[in-house]
């Protein structure tokens, strides 16, 4: 069998916005809005540069809910470029872009092979009229596909390298919606040579014999999707994988970094520490824009300084100004205050005075789950219980509520310690 190579990518989510970014700088906003497209173009460029045989896309090309025509056309254009370079594309659709969300009017190049949603189809990858490999796949037919689609796959009796292409949720603890659920064993037992999976946005190699791989998404879109994002380049020789490597494609990379206020006594020192933290991110990255969130941690006198009105906003502005001239851009999305005052809260809690009483109630609320719900529910129901806000933001997690309690405790401390 002739050696060949292919690229496995998934979850392009073309034209879908970044979550939690508030940049009003036009240059940054433009970069961010075109980031998914730019990453996709980088993918196409990589295919052409590496002269791969074909490209596999394992679902969620775009957000079907958005019905973005622009995304579909840009996707078509990208695949057209591949076709003109004699590179095939094999595409399945996932929960975000189910089969019926496609535009019927778009004409696809002849080297693009889309898989339907009614049954698993098997298509050959040919070179000079000779089949080299087989690709089996099936698309999601609706947004919430609950059936185990993996079970519909069948290994052909052919001796050719056989790839399974699927958008699915392997196992139940991935932290993603349980669409097209299946177990790893379902995939392994089928005897395929390579499973190109999509749905989970973090790259993951679930198994190496055979390879069961999530390539992750090509461009991170929120702080939850930090770190590098891209695709896998796979080289096959004699029905076995000769080379397997990851290629980053993201044009804007998300980072989360922490700065401790321990030992810092002036705003200047804090500014420097924050700038150093961002600078260290820049050292590890080449030719990519950065969106980062800085978490201020630790315990020290700067806590009180940061509690002042607009102190954090001003720190954020100063930091942004420091990196305003960077190109590609550096955008500090948020400075999250997660530090503590120098006060020994546990000791303070024991005091008999009013503040001690407040702190003890916080501790009780934290310790006792029943009281937690009672106090917090009565406190938060006015806004968080409103259907309007739930529709907009969804429900708040327990971790978030606990965080709120912690911040409320510090707020009380800050406000009541004024006259001490």
């Amino acid at each position: 069998m002739k050696p060949f190579s292919f690229i496995h990518a998934a979850d392009l989510h073309l034209d879908s916005p970044f979550k939690g970014i508030t940049a009003d700088n036009p240059a940054i906003a433009d970069s961010v809005s075109s980031a998914t497209f730019d990453a996709f173009n980088a993918l196409i460029d990589l295919c052409i540069q590496k002269q791969v045989g074909f490209l596999l896309i394992a679902g969620d090309v775009y957000d079907g809910a958005d019905r973005s025509l622009r995304a579909q056309l840009r996707f078509r254009d990208g695949l057209d470029r591949l076709a003109k370079n004699e590179i095939d594309s094999f595409v399945v659709h996932g929960n975000h872009d189910p089969f019926d969300s496609r535009s019927s009017a778009i004409e696809w190049p002849n080297k693009v092979h889309s898989f339907g949603c009614h049954k698993v189809e098997t298509k050959p990858f040919e070179r000079d009229g000779t089949p080299i490999a087989l690709i089996s796949g099936i698309s999601h037919s609706r947004r919430k596909e609950t059936q185990n689609l993996a079970k519909r796959f069948v290994r052909e009796t052919s001796e050719l390298f056989h790839i399974g292409l699927l958008h699915c949720n392997v196992g139940s603890a991935t932290g993603y919606d349980p669409y097209a659920p299946c177990e790893l064993s379902d995939l392994v037992d089928l005897g395929m040579d390579y499973w190109a999976l999509g749905h989970v946005h973090e790259k993951a190699i679930l198994c190496t014999d055979p390879h069961v791989v999530y390539s992750g998404n090509t461009q991170g879109r929120s702080i939850r999707e930090d770190g590098e994002r891209g695709c896998y380049l796979v080289t096959v020789n004699e029905r076995s994988i000769a080379n397997f490597e990851f290629h980053p494609l993201d044009v804007v990379r998300w980072f989360h970094t922490t700065v401790s206020i321990g030992g810092i006594t002036t705003l200047d020192q804090l500014d420097n520490a924050v700038s150093r933290a961002v600078q260290s991110l820049l050292q590890d990255i080449i030719s990519r824009s950065i969106v980062c969130r800085i978490e201020i941690t630790g315990r020290g006198p700067m806590y009180d300084e940061l509690q002042k009105e607009r102190a954090v906003d001003e720190l954020l502005d100063r930091t942004r100004d420091n990196f305003a001239a960077e190109s590609p851009f550096v955008w500090v999305q948020e400075i999250e205050i997660n530090c503590r005052p120098e006060v020994d809260l546990e000791k303070r809690r024991e005091s008999k005075d009013f503040l001690g009483q407040v702190l003890r109630i916080v501790q009780e609320t934290r310790d006792s789950k029943s009281t937690t719900s009672e106090i917090l529910e009565s406190a938060l129901s006015e806004l968080f219980g409103s259907r309007h806000i739930q529709k907009a933001l969804g429900a708040f997690s327990e971790v978030e509520i606990n965080r709120l309690l912690e911040e409320a405790e510090l707020l009380c401390l800050n406000k009541l310690e004024v006259d001490e």
Partner: protein, 1326 residues
């Protein structure tokens, strides 16, 4: 502390009233209205705290019954013993005297110590109050009361609470308000809704794109069709247009061909361009002949010109002398013209000279004028003489002025001397009383002595006062101490530090004790709480169901098995449903197959066949029967109809049979297809059933492990899972409880240890405190201070001793200063007595003595001034005398200088006259006049010179004119011409010049014309030769054209040319037709055109144009539609609305999330503060409020449970028996008074003054209480009176009875008629 007795000297209605031996405890004062209860209350307040200012609105009770305003109150204090406070009218609240029982006097400080810093307001509102104070809560506004009432001491955070709550509330309102529009979260939500609405609209983009693409395809197909139609129309139209275009050429061609056929044929060949050549030749010949004639004319004209020329040879020869004569003629003419003007000038000058000479005098002639010496030296001598005479005149005038002024000065000096002499006479009697030195000493010492006289008494008073204050200050520290003790007392830093060490040791030990106590109480409470929690948890664990037999891992395994089983069951059910569905489909297919089979077989066309036969038969039968019955016509008609119907049915049968045959073939193929499908489905069904069986086996494999039947359903699995979850939860809860119990047990143990440890610390601390006390006492003894004084007091003593030491230094300084002043005084008086007029003074008042000295000094000063003025007058007289002598001398000098000047002037004038005479001039002339005469002489000489020059010029001109005439006459003679008359002399010379010029010109012209005549002759010969050549050429051409004359030659040439032109035109037209029509075959084209007409072509073209216009309109519309669609598709394809809106949506969500978090943080903080406040108010109210609450509960018989002071608010609330909170203003008047009374009790109980309880005075405060509550209040007051002296004033016998009922031994004092007396005494007296 209690009031033992008081005495009113004069206060309101009271005068000289004493109340003695007041007991401790409760004392009732009873009296009618206006008996003086309020007066007594005010008296006690005023004596203790001072009379009120006149500006106060309260009654100041002036003595109405006589006596001095004021009196005294005797108080027995636990600390100070009996102290009498006496107050009489005076500044700042009256003059107060404080004295001890032993007669020693106290100070204001003693009074302050006695009252422990209680302010007048506090005393009035808490300790000595009437109904009016009781009725308002504002009277509880004293800071001290406030702080204890409202819990200012309740610890950190509480004071900041209202601000914190306010801040949080504001923040919450700023962020969110249900139903609000402006708060930030509300705004963001509205923005988000709007964006989402737009997003929904934008999402229809794909449908629009698909529809637009479909429409575009349709349009493109239509466009293609129309394009081909337009093409065919265009082709036909183009063909017609071509024919129309060439039609004109075609018509012309036909005409030319016709003209050619009509042309006669004469000769076949003719020389090329023969006619043109003939014409050209003829034309040339004509031109040459004309040229020849012109040359001949020119030759004749030349000859005529030559004949007209004349040359004078004689005049040419005499050319040089004539030229010279002409050249010099100008000079002669100019001299003739200038001469008369010069002669006139000469005459003017002569007359001027004569006029000047007449002006100078008769004796003056031209010769005298020219001969006189007019040199510069002479004129210089005249000028000098003039200046010298002027200067001498001026010297004389100055000398005369000087003489006059010196005489005036001399007279003035005389008068001044006389005045000075008179002035000196006034100072003859000025004499001094003492010598200058004594007077100077008295003057210098005067101010010092005066200040001594003024300051000495004041300093003495100050000294006395300072001494007194010093003594008092010393006594304040210790009555036994004196100044020496103070000086000896060590106030050094080490001594103070030592005391501070003692203080810190004592207070430290005290604070430690308090802290240990607090910690101990806290630890004990914590210990109890933890122990209680521990017991609760243990009980909770006991109540819980027993732990399941299986372990956690086994349960988890079972849980996963159940989940797997659920998967299999789901799959099994899905498969079973699919099998059922497939079976149903199979069954349907089988039935369809059966139906299909039946259809193929069942329906046939026989029915039509048999119906047609039947009908025919029936027709025949009916016809036969009716004919047989005699109705032949009807029979034939009916039978005919039926036969026709039968025939029709037969035809129908034929047709149906053909269609049916086709249908049968199709059905059979369909049947075969269905059979194939049934077979496939059967196989598929079988496979599924096998899979189902396999699944059942897998399910069965799980059931034994899970201890459930094989026939388990999904519902069972759900139930089992819930049971399993509960079991696991129970397991986890038990484990958690166990962990918690374990932790609590450890905390209980730790708490117990903490309590024990704290108890040990407490004991240790107590002994440390005792030891520090003993050391302190030892120190006190060593310093001479009394025992019992605290380190803080000693610190105060340090400060005071320092102050007293400063006072001592001040007193000593004052004494020294007084001594110095006495010395100064004595010295001055001794000095003054040295003066005779002052010798008797100095024995009386110092001020009188000072004024006598001042008078003496003033007198001495005046005498001294007069002495000085006399010395000045003497000096002035001397000066005036000297001045008079000087002026006399100056006057004499001026007169001698005047005489000298007059002499000089006379001598000089005589010398000048001598000089004039010498020069022959009039001796009377002044130098000025002489100078003017010299100027006239000068002018006369200049005019004489000018006149001589003019005479010379006239002569020169006359000579020049005469010379020219002479030379001209000689020239005329040489030429042989006669000499002309003088008038024509110059004109004749001009004529001669003109003749000479003309002869020269004609000679030159004759030579030029000779050359030209030669050239013309040559041209003439040449032209004649040309004409001969042309004749020969003409002849040859005619011969070549076969003609003998020009006429024939020309006719033949024209015909030949016309023929050739027509042939060329025909060829050209044919070429045009071929090109326009695009056809090669011209004859075929000619044939086609011959068959057409112009009208026919135009009609065809019009029709095609109409068709084209219609189609083209449609085409354009389609193209426009297509372009619009493409644009629309392009717009839809590039629209980034969704991306932009989604980005906007995400941005808003993020901002909303941040704001919601901010809100949540504040909302929880608000709840925490509220909860903490509730608990704090419940658990840790100040003791004052607690005790007040107890009183209030007692007074109101339990209707009100307690009083609370909300944290951070300057107000109180009352909790009713059913837990409701009320504000004081919501209570009835009586209840409010009870509340305020209770609060006062709470305060009084908790805050003793310096460890002593102040007496309490109440003025009829129970009047608004109902009997029941009055009884209870009275009981409370009596209980209060167990520790405090209570003086209760009332005018209500019922009130008195209430107290007496509860305690019959209550001492009662009666107020009546301005007297106060004990009831017992009155009873005894009665």
């Amino acid at each position: 502390m209690r009031i033992s007795h008081f005495h009113i000297d004069g206060f309101g209605i009271f005068h000289d009233v004493s109340v003695k031996s007041l007991p401790s405890g409760f004392v009732l004062f009873s009296g009618d209205n206006e008996a003086g209860k309020s007066t007594c209350l005010s008296f006690l307040r005023d004596i203790l705290f001072g009379f009120r200012d006149k500006r106060s609105k309260e009654n100041d009770y002036p003595p109405l019954a006589g006596g001095r305003h004021g009196g005294y109150v005797s108080i027995i204090s636990d600390r100070l013993g009996e102290v009498v406070i006496e107050r009489w009218p005076g500044k700042s609240g009256g003059s107060v005297t404080v004295s001890y029982a032993d007669g020693k006097k106290g100070t204001d400080e003693t009074l302050r110590q006695l009252l422990g810093g209680t302010s007048r307001e506090l005393f009035r509102n808490i300790y000595a109050f009437s109904l009016s104070e009781l009725q308002t809560i504002e009277t509880l506004g004293d800071d001290m009361v406030k702080s204890v009432l409202y819990g200012a001491s309740a610890g950190a955070g509480m004071l900041a609470l209202p601000a914190a709550q306010g801040h949080i509330q504001r923040k919450l309102e700023e962020l969110f308000k249900p139903g609000g529009r402006n708060p930030r979260i509300n705004k963001k939500l509205a923005d988000l809704d709007e964006v989402r609405l737009k997003l929904r609209e934008a999402r229809s983009g794909i449908d629009q794109y698909d529809a637009a693409c479909l429409e575009l395809r349709k349009k493109e197909e239509e466009l293609q069709k129309l394009n081909s139609e337009v093409g065919s129309i265009n082709r036909a139209k183009n063909r017609i247009e071509t024919y129309l275009k060439l039609w004109e050429d075609w018509v012309l061609l036909r005409e030319i061909e016709k003209r050619l056929t009509e042309l006669p044929l004469i000769i076949t060949s003719f020389p090329e361009n023969a006619v043109e050549r003939l014409d050209r030749c003829l034309e040339k010949r004509e031109r040459e002949e004309q040229l020849l004639a012109e040359i001949k004319l020119e030759r004749d004209d030349l000859m005529a010109q030559m004949d007209g020329l004349f040359v004078d040879e004689a005049i040419l020869k005499a050319s040089p002398p004539i030229r010279t004569l002409l050249d010099k003629k100008g000079g002669c003419v100019a001299a003739t013209e200038t001469l008369p003007a010069i002669r006139q000038k000469f005459e003017y000058k002569r007359e001027e000279v004569l006029a000047i000479l007449a002006g100078l005098g008769k004796e003056w002639t031209e010769a005298k004028v020219v001969g006189i010496d007019r040199s510069l030296f002479t004129r210089e001598a005249i000028l000098k003489q003039q200046e010298h005479l002027n200067r001498l005149g001026s010297v004389r005038d100055q000398a005369e002025g000087l003489v006059a002024s010196k005489q005036q000065e001399d007279e003035t000096a005389q008068r001044a001397e006389e005045e000075a002499q008179g002035n000196l006479e006034r100072y003859r009697n000025v004499v001094m009383e003492a010598d200058d030195e004594t007077i100077l000493a008295l003057q210098q010492g005067r101010d010092q002595f005066a200040s001594v006289v003024k300051d000495l008494p004041q300093r003495s008073t100050e000294h006395h006062e300072a001494r007194r204050q010093l003594d008092e200050a010393v006594k304040e520290i210790d009555p036994d101490w004196n100044e020496t003790d103070i000086v000896r007392f060590d106030c050094s830093i080490p001594a103070q530090e030592k005391v501070e060490q003692y203080e810190s040791r004592l207070t430290g030990a005290g604070r430690d004790a308090a802290q240990i106590q607090t910690k101990l109480e806290s630890a004990q409470t914590d210990f109890k709480n933890v122990e209680e929690q521990y017991n609760i948890k243990v009980r909770e664990l006991g109540k819980m169901a027993p732990s399941p037999a299986d372990g956690r891992d086994e349960l988890t395994v079972r849980q996963s098995s159940l989940r797997a089983l659920r998967g299999y069951l789901l799959e099994h059910e899905s498969l079973a449903a699919e099998i059922r569905h497939q079976e149903e489909r199979l069954s349907d297919k089988q039935q369809e197959m059966i139906r299909q089979g039946k259809v193929s077989r069942g329906v046939s066309t026989d029915i039509f066949r048999w119906a047609s036969v039947g009908t025919l038969m029936l027709g025949l039968i009916v016809s036969g029967v009716l004919t047989f019955l005699g109705s032949a016509t009807e029979g034939i008609l009916a039978g005919g109809i039926l036969v026709v119907m039968g025939g029709l049915l037969f035809l129908l049968y034929r047709k149906t049979r053909t269609q049916w045959a086709i249908q049968v073939a199709s059905d059979q193929s369909r049947l075969a297809e269905i059979e194939r499908q049934v077979s496939t489905m059967g196989a598929h069904l079988k496979a599924m059933k096998e899979q189902c069986t396999d699944l059942s086996k897998r399910i069965a494999a799980f059931t034994p492990g899970l201890k459930i039947p094989d026939s388990v359903k999904l519902g069972d699995i759900d139930r089992l899972e819930i049971e399993l979850d509960e079991t696991i939860a129970l397991f986890d809860r038990r484990n958690q409880l166990a962990d918690e119990i374990e932790e609590l047990a450890s905390r209980v143990k730790k708490g117990k240890e903490t309590v024990e440890e704290l108890l040990r610390k407490k004991v240790g601390n107590e002994s440390a405190l005792e030891e520090a006390g003993q050391d302190w006492e030892t120190y006190l003894k060593s310093t001479g201070l009394r025992s019992g004084v605290t380190p803080r007091t000693v610190s105060l003593i340090f400060t005071k001793v320092e102050a007293i030491k400063a006072q001592i230094r001040q007193v000593h300084e004052l004494e020294e200063r007084i001594c110095q002043m006495e010395e100064v005084k004595e010295a001055y008086i001794t000095l003054a007595k040295g003066v005779p007029s002052l010798a008797e003074e100095g024995e009386g008042e110092l001020t009188d003595f000072l004024s006598t000295v001042d008078t003496f000094l003033e007198r001495s000063r005046e005498i001294k001034e007069k002495r000085h003025e006399r010395r000045l007058a003497e000096q002035l007289l001397e000066e005036k005398k000297r001045r008079k002598m000087e002026t006399e001398k100056a006057s004499q000098e001026a007169r001698s200088r005047l005489d000298q000047a007059v002499d000089d002037e006379k001598n000089d004038r005589e010398a000048w006259q001598e000089w004039l005479i010498q020069r022959g001039l009039n001796p009377e002339l002044s130098p000025g006049t002489t100078l003017e005469a010299f100027q006239e002489i000068e002018r006369c000489v200049r005019l004489v010179n000018e006149r001589s020059e003019l005479a010379e010029q006239v002569k020169r001109l006359e000579d020049e004119i005469d010379g020219y005439h002479r030379w001209a006459v000689e020239a005329f003679k040489k030429l042989g011409n006669p000499v002309p008359e003088a008038e024509r002399f110059l004109a004749t010379i001009d004529q001669l010049g003109d003749n000479l010029e003309k002869s020269k010109t004609d000679l030159a012209r004759r030579e030029e014309l000779g050359k030209k005549a030669h050239s013309i002759e040559s041209k003439l010969r040449n032209s004649q030769g040309q004409i001969e050549c042309l004749e020969r050429e003409l002849h040859a051409l005619l011969q070549a054209g076969g003609s003998t004359n020009q006429e024939t030659f020309r006719t033949q040439g024209r015909l030949f040319k016309e023929r050739r032109r027509l042939l060329e035109e025909i060829a050209q037209k044919e070429r045009n037709l071929k090109i326009i029509a695009g056809e090669e075959d011209i004859s075929s084209l000619k044939n086609k055109l011959s068959s057409l007409s112009m009208e026919q072509l135009k009609a065809e073209h019009e029709e095609l144009s109409r068709q084209f216009k219609n189609v083209d309109g449609e085409l354009n519309q389609l193209r426009q539609d297509k372009a619009d669609l493409k644009l629309r598709i392009s717009n839809l394809a590039s629209a980034d609305d969704i991306a932009r809106l989604r980005a906007e949506e995400e941005r808003l969500i993020e901002e909303l999330r941040v704001l919601a978090f901010e809100w949540g943080r504040h909302a929880i903080a608000k709840c925490l503060l509220s909860e903490a406040r509730k608990r704090f108010e419940q658990e840790q109210q100040p003791k004052v409020i607690y005790d007040a609450g107890s009183f209030f509960q007692t007074i109101t018989g339990g209707r009100y449970q307690k009083i609370v002071a909300p944290i951070g608010e300057n107000t109180i609330e009352i909790v009713t028996h059913d837990g409701q909170h009320k504000r004081p203003e919501e209570l009835s008047r009586g209840t409010a008074e009870q509340l305020y009374l209770a609060i006062r009790f709470g305060y009084i109980l908790n805050y003793a003054v310096n460890g002593e309880n102040l007496p309490i005075i109440m003025d009829d405060i129970l009047v608004n209480f109902d009997p029941n509550r009055a009884n209870k209040a009275a009981g409370a007051i009596l209980r209060l009176a167990e520790k405090h002296q209570v003086l209760f004033f009332t005018c209500h016998p019922e009130t008195a009875k209430i107290f007496q009922k509860q305690d019959p031994k209550v001492p009662v004092y009666l107020l009546h008629d301005g007297k106060i007396a004990s009831e017992k005494v009155l009873t005894r007296e009665a």
